[in-house]
């Protein structure tokens, strides 16, 4: 892609070369769509659940050599079915090296030692920051497009994403108060992806009033005193844990007029992919229901 971008202006300066230049670009893009450009990486390995999903959306046929094992888990991954088609890795340096990748994509919080080891082995590693807003979803998609030599595909995805976000989010007149409440009594504020999702769906997050912008522990007492109209929580994980038992605390049913709802489906919001649209839609529907009944 890079070589095309440089070549095009040269062609365009020649009289009558504009059409030829355009044709060349189209041919180049077509080639990129099928075989990938010569400069684009051909054996990409993703080792993080979120980069897996971005890469699967953006990558061309055969370009993605492996995704992380977690991407096959239907609870965390929005595209667990598609992930069955790819060999999986477990984020260990040895197995990734054996896959002989020409690009490794990792998340910011993927094992630091593994990433350092891969770099020492001379494998290029691109590290993605986790999305903390809807804007980050756009940014990460575009960056993935650049890395994989698929900018056009990424731009299409971003445009479709923007159209849906614009449709789903309106400025409500009287946004109801909601509390986000996750296992271990965690909440998330404005500066997080899920906070942005809830805002876009038309809720006021009580975390803002309590000074929580990122993620933080929300004592049950403060949640009760803040009197949210709705407590929104994520989907249940398999198995049992004390951390999730906090959702069964009897006070949660009494505090909010509309109780506690499992309004979020984890695989739709844990990663900044266009799948967050489904979460906005879901929360938006909850808001409609709530506003209708008050």
């Amino acid at each position: 892609m890079v070589s095309v971008a440089i070549a095009v202006p040269l062609w365009l300066h020649r009289p009558g070369g504009a059409l030829a230049g355009l044709l060349l670009v189209l041919v180049a893009l077509n080639n990129a769509a099928f075989a990938g450009e010569p400069s684009a990486p051909q054996r990409v390995v993703s080792m993080n659940l979120c980069t897996d999903q971005l890469a699967m959306l953006v990558a061309g046929e055969g370009q993605l050599a492996s995704v992380s094992a977690l991407s096959r888990d239907p609870i965390s991954s929005a595209i667990a079915d598609q992930a069955q088609a790819y060999p999986v890795n477990h984020g260990r340096a040895e197995e990734i090296h054996l896959l002989d990748p020409d690009l490794v994509i990792a998340g910011r919080f993927s094992a630091g030692a593994t990433v350092a080891m891969l770099k020492r082995l001379g494998i290029p590693v691109a590290v993605f920051e986790p999305a903390t807003s809807l804007d980050d979803v756009r940014r990460n998609l575009l960056r993935m497009g650049e890395l994989l030599g698929r900018t056009e595909r990424a731009r299409e995805l971003v445009e479709a994403f923007d159209r849906r976000v614009a449709m789903l989010s309106g400025e409500p007149l009287d946004p109801p108060e909601a509390a986000l409440y996750f296992p271990n009594g965690y909440t998330r504020g404005e500066d997080t992806l899920v906070g942005d999702i809830v805002r876009a769906a038309g809720f006021n997050n009580i975390a803002s009033g309590l000074g929580v912008a990122g993620g933080g522990h929300l004592p049950l007492e403060q949640l009760v005193v803040a009197e949210p109209e709705l407590v929104i929580t994520g989907s249940r994980n398999r198995g049992y844990s004390r951390s999730q038992a906090i959702m069964q605390h009897p006070v949660l049913d009494e505090v909010a007029r509309f109780g506690a709802r499992r309004g979020l489906v984890n695989r739709e919001w844990v990663c900044g992919t266009p799948r967050v649209l489904a979460a906005i839609e879901r929360i938006g529907a909850l808001r409609g229901e709530l506003v209708g009944s008050r």
Binding site: N184, E221, N237, S241, R242, V251, V255
Partner: protein
């Protein structure tokens, strides 16, 4: 003696009240106490009645359980280092509780959690009394305790690591250090009956424990049926420690520190120490639970951190004192 009990009771009552007033939601002391008795569903009364009250009750119950069983174990084993946490009884109770939660038993059958923790605790006390039994020296008692604790905590880690639930692994800390954060009245009702029965069994051990100070043979001559005393101790300790651990995790050193501090005040009579230690344990855990909420309110500090900070130096001091015997 009765003055000591009165002082401890007053102290426990005062700390119980403070425990009700302290919390992340800024509510004035008067307003909070009014809300405690107010009817209705105001947020304040919800906070007081459903969050702070169960917490204070559980701190009292758990503290009393640990203090009482520590005093009883020390009296029976005639060893100042005996303590449910150090001997692995709390650890095996935690293992029982973790198994109940991870198998889903606790979710399908409400009594599954305390019963399973109790079974674990029972196995722990049984092992300790068998291993360190009749003439067991300090060394064998402590070594048996270390082995049982290590095994139990390894099994707790294993069970939580095997869990498909992503949060389970982080709960190893809770089971090792204990916490009373965000418990509800359900937990109180779960633990209370077991603690009551266990405490009744342990508190009636006063006379036999006094007799045992003269040696087991002398106690038998005085008409104590030692086999019965032993079973009463094992079942009683398993009940109180099992039920406490099931709702609050493993809180160490309470059963060590409290009897040790109170012993001089009761004339070194293990029988008298029982009631005093129960109250003293309640005082210590109530105080520790107030501290974890005041010192680092955001950090969700575990109770066991505070009790270990107080208890471990004392433990070392006791080892230093008994090192002649250990050598």
């Amino acid at each position: 003696m009765s003055r000591l009990l009165a002082v401890l009771l007053a102290l426990a009552a005062a700390l119980f009240t403070v425990s009700l007033i302290v919390g992340p939601a800024a509510i004035g002391p008067l307003a909070s106490l009014q809300a405690l008795f107010a009817a209705g569903d105001t947020p304040l009364s919800l906070v007081m009645q459903e969050i702070r009250l169960p917490r204070a009750i559980l701190a009292t119950l758990v503290g009393a359980s640990l203090g009482l069983s520590g005093a009883a174990l020390q009296g029976y084993l005639r060893n100042p280092l005996a303590e449910p946490g150090l001997l692995g009884i709390s650890g095996s109770a935690a293992l029982g509780a973790v198994i109940a939660i991870q198998t889903g038993l606790a979710a399908t059958f409400p009594l599954g959690l305390p019963l399973s923790a109790l079974t674990g605790a029972f196995a722990g006390v049984l092992l300790i009394t068998l291993l360190a039994g009749r003439r067991g020296g300090t060394l064998s008692l402590i070594l048996a305790g270390i082995a049982i604790s290590a095994l139990a905590s390894a099994m707790v880690s294993l069970a939580l690591n095997l869990s498909p639930n992503p949060f389970a692994t982080s709960e190893i800390v809770f089971w090792m250090m204990g916490s009373l954060a965000d418990r509800s009245m359900q937990h109180v009702w779960l633990a209370l009956p077991f603690v009551m029965v266990g405490a009744a069994l342990l508190l009636t051990l006063g006379r036999p424990l006094d007799a045992i100070t003269l040696g087991e043979d002398a106690a038998e001559t005085l008409g104590m049926r030692l086999a019965r005393v032993r079973w009463q101790l094992i079942v009683g300790s398993a009940l109180v420690v099992g039920a406490s651990t099931a709702v609050a995790g493993t809180i160490g050193f309470v059963g060590l520190v409290v009897p040790h501090l109170l012993r001089p005040w009761v004339g070194a009579m293990p029988g008298r120490l029982l009631g005093a230690s129960a109250l003293g344990g309640a005082v210590m855990v109530l105080a520790a639970d107030i501290l974890v909420r005041r010192v680092l309110p955001e950090a969700d500090l575990k109770l066991g951190v505070i009790t270990a900070l107080i208890g471990a130096p004392l433990f070392l001091h006791l080892i230093y004192q008994t090192r002649q015997e250990l050598a």
